[in-house]
């Protein structure tokens, strides 16, 4: 790879700085201090490997002169393909690689171009200054070291030492000789602890047999003790039972004693007392009911005597109820009557008003006679139409008369106008015949005149020819002078002048047309003149012509004579005609034309006059016709007016006949018809109201008569009555009477039923009394008191017997029936409660003692059993064994892992060793060759032991020297050689990269300087070299050694 161009957009002091055409070999950049050498060097590094972080403390080279911070490098690779590498600090900082085909790439593509050399390698091996050179550590940086040892390993960017370290760490995570945390160490410990726990469990199981024996013994002992305990417990229970039944036993004794004292009764009815009490109670209740019923009967009798009823009222019940129904109708009739009377009065007044509207003398009688039938109405309408029609006709005819009179007036005016015209026209009367003659002569004149002129021209031509002959006769005809050209020129000039003038007069179109016409005329003139010439003088005929001419002149004079006579003839003819037309001499054409116009005007006038006369005649005829028409129409009008008057008269007669105002129009009459109709309707409604009032008054009277007759019937007649009040009163009384009669009926029924109940009660009472006496006899008693005494004794006996039975049962429940019971009784008879309690206490104490012993034994047995069970159930052993095998398996796996890692590390270590021995000298060998040359053979060997990160040199006498023992210059030469060696080795395997030096030779003495230059020359064969320096002598020397190197002055000023 090599740099082709460097373009700095903005970086440090550079802006838009372009270095082109870098050579593939050496390019020397010369410039004084601060000219920007280091800036360019840094620029290259940064474009390739990126801009440092702001916090790095490195010089960022901001674009001081402007531009975008960054730029591009154009590079080419071995096959001369060019790539652009571009990077700007703005945005992502990311590098952009542009391929020849325009596609782009990033870091990966750049890395490929650089043969995967990273920043460290580039900065330490390829692009460095004095500082890096002097610093041996830069060569020792991990990346570089790895590269030195792995140059050509084919492992890409992986560091062997890192891989080794990695393997070691990983192996360490599995096992360390003196560790506890690594997995295998941990497993060892875990397995150990499982083993020790397993041993403990084994010990436990050894006790198993012993425990079994102990268990058996203790089980036997427990069985014995339990037997003893059971015996004592039986005794104790027996004693307790005796104590328990002691009370029952005593009760039986007492009951037996008491029983002997109570008299015996044969029998007693069951629930005797209860039955007695119940019957007595019932008897009391019955007696009470009977007295209650008697009281009720008394009350009813009193009530009945109090109640009285008006029979008459009840007899008139239906009538009263009917009257009550008619009550509402009566009330509304009496209330409605005044309203109706009011309506009647109002209607009568209304009728009167309407009649007055028709006419002052109109009354109801007239109204009834008037016929308002539809035929009558129709008659009025017909009359109205007749009148209207007559009027209409009158109007139309009047209009017609007016129209005709107007027409007559118009025609008369017109006639006057025509007459006026005629008067003026008749002043210029012309003789028509003369006019015709003059026109004919003038026509002839017009025809003859051109003939005359033609003949005259012929005449002149002949005369000219004759003259010519006379001239030509003695000599040869002279050539005719050419027609002069000046008229043509004049024409053109005139054209131009007119053009100019027309331009001034803003009328250049006309000017141009005039010019054109004149120019054409001029051209014609020229052409014509030439023609004339050629025709008049044909060349080569001159000699013969003389004879011809004489001949022809004779001819000519003959022709002239003829012509003269013809001419004279025409002149005469013309003159005669001219006289007719009032010309004194032969008129020129202008005169003829004037005369022609005169004649034409005269004939036109004549025509107009004729027209007017015709008009006059027509108008006169029209006038006569119209006057006749007017007379006819006037007659018609007269007749019509008479007709109208007749119709009016008839109408007025009709009105008078009917008693209407004779001044009424038919329309008004139709309106009165409507009023008359309203009046008739009102009259009808008055009649109706009267009828209604009459019928209402009748019904009121009828109702009142009915009311008073009912009152009379019921003995309630009064002098003056208010119908409604009385009716209400009597109705109320009637209702009371009905109510009272119902009450009385109910009382009768109640009385009957009470009597019946009373009889029933008395029967029941008897029955009860019988029952009581029967009960007493059953209880062997004479009286109630005796009965009660017997009952008490009976009960007492039974109770005591029950007590004895209960006691015996209680004892039997505990002792058992049969013999055990009698044994029990015997025992009870022979002992006392005190003895029994004493015995019970003793037994109880003994029992407790045994129980305690027993539970102790059981506990002991439980403990042993538990121990055995624990051993038997002990699954821990199984689990632990399982855990152990799992851990063993894990251990095996981990040991495999550890072994793999360890084997990998061991073999890789051996491979590195082998590689260092067999392959690494490539770098050293190259470096050695450079070093030997640079030190002019003083040092012959560089030595790098495998196990040391150190380098020694050997001088030509075989003395080994450490770097510290070398002078500064020599040390720098060694470092430079090593770098050169590396570059060489690296170039063999990967892309050869350009090398950038920044004044690295300053500490070299001139001889070694030269030698170093030679070495650079050597290197320039494989790598492009950019050499930055501020020493002109360095430039000179390098240029001298490498004449084809390029020098670039980077002094920006």
């Amino acid at each position: 790879m090599k740099f082709e161009e460097i373009y700095i957009d903005g970086f440090g002091i550079f802006h838009n700085y372009h270095i082109k055409n870098l050579t593939p070999g050496l390019t020397i950049f010369i410039g004084p201090n601060e000219a920007g050498k280091s800036t360019i060097l840094s620029f290259q590094k940064r474009i390739l490997f990126g801009f440092p972080d702001r916090r790095s403390g490195l010089n960022l080279y901001p674009p001081l002169a402007g531009g975008n911070h960054g730029g591009r490098l154009i590079i080419s690779n071995a096959d001369n393909t060019r790539y652009t590498i571009e990077r700007y600090s703005k945005g992502t900082h990311n590098v952009k690689v542009i391929f020849p085909d325009g596609s782009t790439g990033g870091t990966t593509e750049l890395s490929n171009l650089l043969g995967h050399a990273n920043k460290d390698i580039f900065e330490n091996i390829y692009a460095f200054g004095l500082t890096e050179l002097q610093d041996f550590e830069t060569l020792n940086s991990e990346a570089v070291k790895g590269r030195i040892y792995s140059a050509g390993t084919g492992i890409g960017a992986v560091s062997l030492s890192e891989v080794q370290k990695n393997l070691e760490t990983e192996a360490g995570s599995f096992f360390k000789e003196r560790g506890s945390k690594p997995e295998i160490n941990a497993l060892f410990n875990e397995i150990k602890s499982i083993d020790s726990r397993l041993r403990e469990i084994e010990k436990d199981t050894q006790n198993f047999d012993r425990l079994h024996n102990e268990l058996e013994e203790i089980t036997k002992e427990i069985a014995n003790v339990e037997q003893e305990r059971n015996q004592i417990r039986t005794k104790f229970n027996h004693t307790t039972n005796l104590i328990r039944v002691w009370d029952d036993w005593r009760k039986i004794q007492e009951a037996k004693e008491r029983l002997q004292k109570i008299p015996e009764i044969e029998n007693f009815p069951e629930n005797g007392i209860e039955l007695l009490e119940r019957n007595i109670e019932k008897i009391d209740e019955l007696n009470e009911s009977i007295s209650e019923k008697n009281e009720g009967l008394k009350k009813i009798k009193i009530q009945k005597s109090v109640t009285k009823i008006d029979e008459k009222l009840i007899g008139n019940k239906d009538k009263i109820l009917e009257l009550q129904k008619g009550q509402d109708k009566y009330i509304s009739a009496t209330k409605g009557l005044p309203t109706l009377e009011e309506n009647l009065k109002r209607d009568k007044e209304g009728l009167k008003g309407s009649l007055h509207e028709i006419g002052p003398d109109w009354d109801e009688e007239k109204l009834s006679k008037f016929d308002i039938s539809i035929p009558t109405k129709e008659t009025v309408r017909r009359k109205h139409n007749t009148l209207e029609e007559a009027k209409e006709k009158n109007r139309d005819t009047e209009k017609e008369v007016q129209g005709i009179e107007q027409n007559i007036k118009n025609i008369e005016e017109e006639i006057e106008k025509v007459n006026k015209h005629l008067k003026t026209q008749s002043l210029q009367q012309i003789d028509e015949k003369k006019l015709e003659q003059e026109r004919k002569s003038l026509q002839l004149l017009r025809i003859k005149y051109p003939n005359l002129k033609e003949k005259e021209v012929d005449m002149r031509n002949l005369e000219e020819k004759e003259e010519l002959f006379t001239i030509l006769k003695p000599h040869r005809a002279e050539p005719l002078p050419k027609l002069p050209l000046w008229p043509a020129l004049m024409l053109i000039a005139a054209g131009i002048v007119s053009l100019i003038l027309s331009i001034f007069g803003n009328n250049w179109v006309i000017g141009i047309s005039i010019l054109a016409i004149l120019s054409i005329s001029a051209t014609f003139y020229i052409i014509l003149s030439r023609k004339e010439l050629s025709t008049t003088t044909p060349e080569g005929f001159e000699d013969k012509e003389a004879e011809d001419l004489i001949e022809r002149s004779r001819d000519l004079s003959e022709r002239r004579n003829k012509l003269e006579s013809a001419l004279q003839k025409i002149k005469n003819e013309i003159l005669s005609n001219a006289q007719i037309c009032d010309f004194e001499d032969i008129p020129d054409p202008q005169q003829i034309e004037n005369k022609d116009s005169e004649l034409r005007a005269a004939s036109e006038n004549q025509l107009k006059l004729n027209e007017l006369k015709k008009q006059q005649e027509t108008l006169d005829q029209k006038l006569v016709k119209l006057s006749e028409e007017a007379n006819t129409v006037k007659k018609k009008l007269e007749a019509l007016r008479k007709e109208e008057e007749k119709a009016q008269k008839e109408w007025r007669n009709w009105l008078t006949e009917r008693g209407l105002d004779s001044e009424l129009t038919p329309e008004g009459t139709i309106d009165i018809f409507a009023t008359i109709k309203t009046c008739i309707e009102k009259q009808k409604s008055i009649e109706e109201i009267k009828v209604r009032i009459n019928s209402i008054q009748q019904s009121i009277e009828k109702y009142e008569t009915k009311v008073s007759s009912v009152l009379e019937d019921c003995n309630r007649k009064k002098e003056e009555i208010n119908v409604i009040v009385e009716l209400e009163k009597i109705t109320e009384e009637l209702n009371q009477a009905i109510e009272d009669s119902k009450t009385l009926e109910q009382l009768d029924i109640d009385e009957e039923s009470l009597k019946l109940e009373l009889r029933n009660l008395e029967i029941k009472l008897e029955e009860r009394q019988r029952t009581v006496s029967e009960l007493l006899s059953q209880g062997f008693a004479e009286s109630e008191t005796e009965f009660r005494e017997n009952a008490r004794n009976w009960e007492e006996r039974n109770k005591l017997m029950d007590e004895i039975l209960q006691g015996e049962q209680n004892i039997k429940r505990i002792s058992g029936d049969g013999k055990p019971y009698f044994d029990f009784i015997n025992e009870l008879e022979e002992t006392s409660p005190e003895d029994l309690e004493e015995k019970e206490l003793q037994l109880k104490e003994r029992l407790e003692e045994i129980e305690n012993n027993l539970s102790e034994l059981r506990e002991k047995r439980g403990g042993i059993a538990k121990e055995i069970e624990q051993i038997e159930r002990g699954e821990e052993g199984s689990f632990l064994r399982m855990e152990k095998t799992v851990k063993m398996q894990k251990l095996k796996k981990n040991s495999d892992e550890w072994s793999i890692l360890t084997l990998a590390r061991t073999i890789m270590g051996k491979a590195i060793e082998k590689y260092e021995q067999e392959r690494q000298p490539g770098v050293i060998k190259e470096a050695q060759s450079f070093f030997s040359k640079m030190t002019l053979g003083r040092y012959s060997r560089i030595y790098a032991p495998l196990d040391e990160a150190k380098i020694y040199v050997e001088d030509k006498d075989g003395r080994r020297k450490d770097i510290q023992d070398l002078s500064r210059g020599t040390a720098e030469q060694l470092y430079l050689s090593l770098r050169f060696g590396f570059v060489r080795e690296f170039s063999k395997r990967a892309e050869s990269l350009p090398i950038v030096f920044d004044d690295i030779l300053v500490n070299f003495d001139p001889k070694r300087f030269r030698a170093a230059c030679e070495a650079i020359k050597e290197l320039a064969k494989t790598n492009q070299i950019l050499y930055f320096t501020c020493h002109p002598e360095s430039v000179n020397l390098l240029a001298e050694i490498m004449p084809d190197s390029k020098i670039i002055d980077i002094n920006v000023d």
Partner: protein, 425 residues
Amino acid sequence: MKPFSFIHTADLHLDSPFKGISEVNEEISSELTEATFKAFNKIIDLGIEKQIDFLLIAGDIYDGGDRSLRAQLRFRDGLKRLSDAGIKAFIVHGNHDPLDGWSVNLDWPKNVHIFKGKSVEKVSVEKDGEEIAQIYGISFHNREIKTNLTNKYPKMSQSKKALFSIGMLHCNVGTNTEHEPYAPCTLQDLIIRNFDYWALGHVHKKAIINEDNPLVIYPGNPQGLHPRETGARGCFLVNVDEKGEPTAEFIEVDSMRWFVEELSIDALHTEQELISKLHNYIEKIRKEAMGRPSICRIILTGRGALHSSIARKGVLDDVLKDIRENEEGEKQFVWIESIEDYTNPEIDWKSLLERKDFIGDLVKLFEEFSHDENKMAELKDSLDPLFTSPSGRKLLESIDDEHFRYLIKKAEALCLDKLIGGKFT
């Protein structure tokens, strides 16, 4: 003669731990510790259900070395059930449970007969008062019986033979190198005794080593305890008809089954593909295990792109974790015990060997180390820190050459992976 039936089992190894499992959870752990007992109980159930006449157990009932009281107690409980059902049991002890080994004093049920170890004992078996068979047997009186015990058995005369005769022996027939050579003998040694049936024990893989006259059977262990003990495990139910002809039927009783599945990564590209493939395997196994829980070891083989990603530390552990989590709560679980990575990177080894760079050197060196025995021995020394450490000596098996070569190959793949990543070609 009366027809009868018996069950022949051996190598119960009650309460013996499963071997070769690198990780278990609690659920699996309890299932595993119960597995041998469950299998044994199934045999007892089977005997009771089939109403057999007797049970033969040909040694290695438990591992005396483990001193498991639980094993003995549960064994006694099982026999008691059998005895209660009126079924007899005949027992010979083997190398794992020799008579002089550790045991506790237990009262054996009355129907149990344990053969003694000094000489071959003969026991007659009766059915309904009629003698149906004669059983000959001898127990290991100690572990180290390396002599042929068949010599102690009588030779039955062909003509006199009226009763069905059974020989019980814990031994290694032929040259089965997979098992330790306890009581070695040949098949011929057995045949010439003229027995009708040889009930053998010791070999864990079921085998009918002689089909007829006599029928010689290794029933195998009824519960596989090791990744190598895959497949169905059980016992033999033998029916002897009126003519004295035995027919043996194998009956599966294992409560948990071992599977080892190989899976090639050739066609796999992503971890996800691997996981889904593993799920497929799990479902296949679940089906094959017929309702039992099972343990499976997955062996990844082949070479491919997936190698470098699964070779990274922790990747397979994560895959395993993922799969196991999926199985949690599954009644018939399939426990992937481990995933062993035998895969190789996609390497063109030949082209690597031809390289002239460091990689070339490295690959050649690996080649040398895995072929040259001296160099291998030299290389083994590098593992001494672990293997000769006190604990290592005690707990780690020494590495055999084959395994060592495998480790070297893995180390090589690891190196290449670290140095040139996936870019092997």
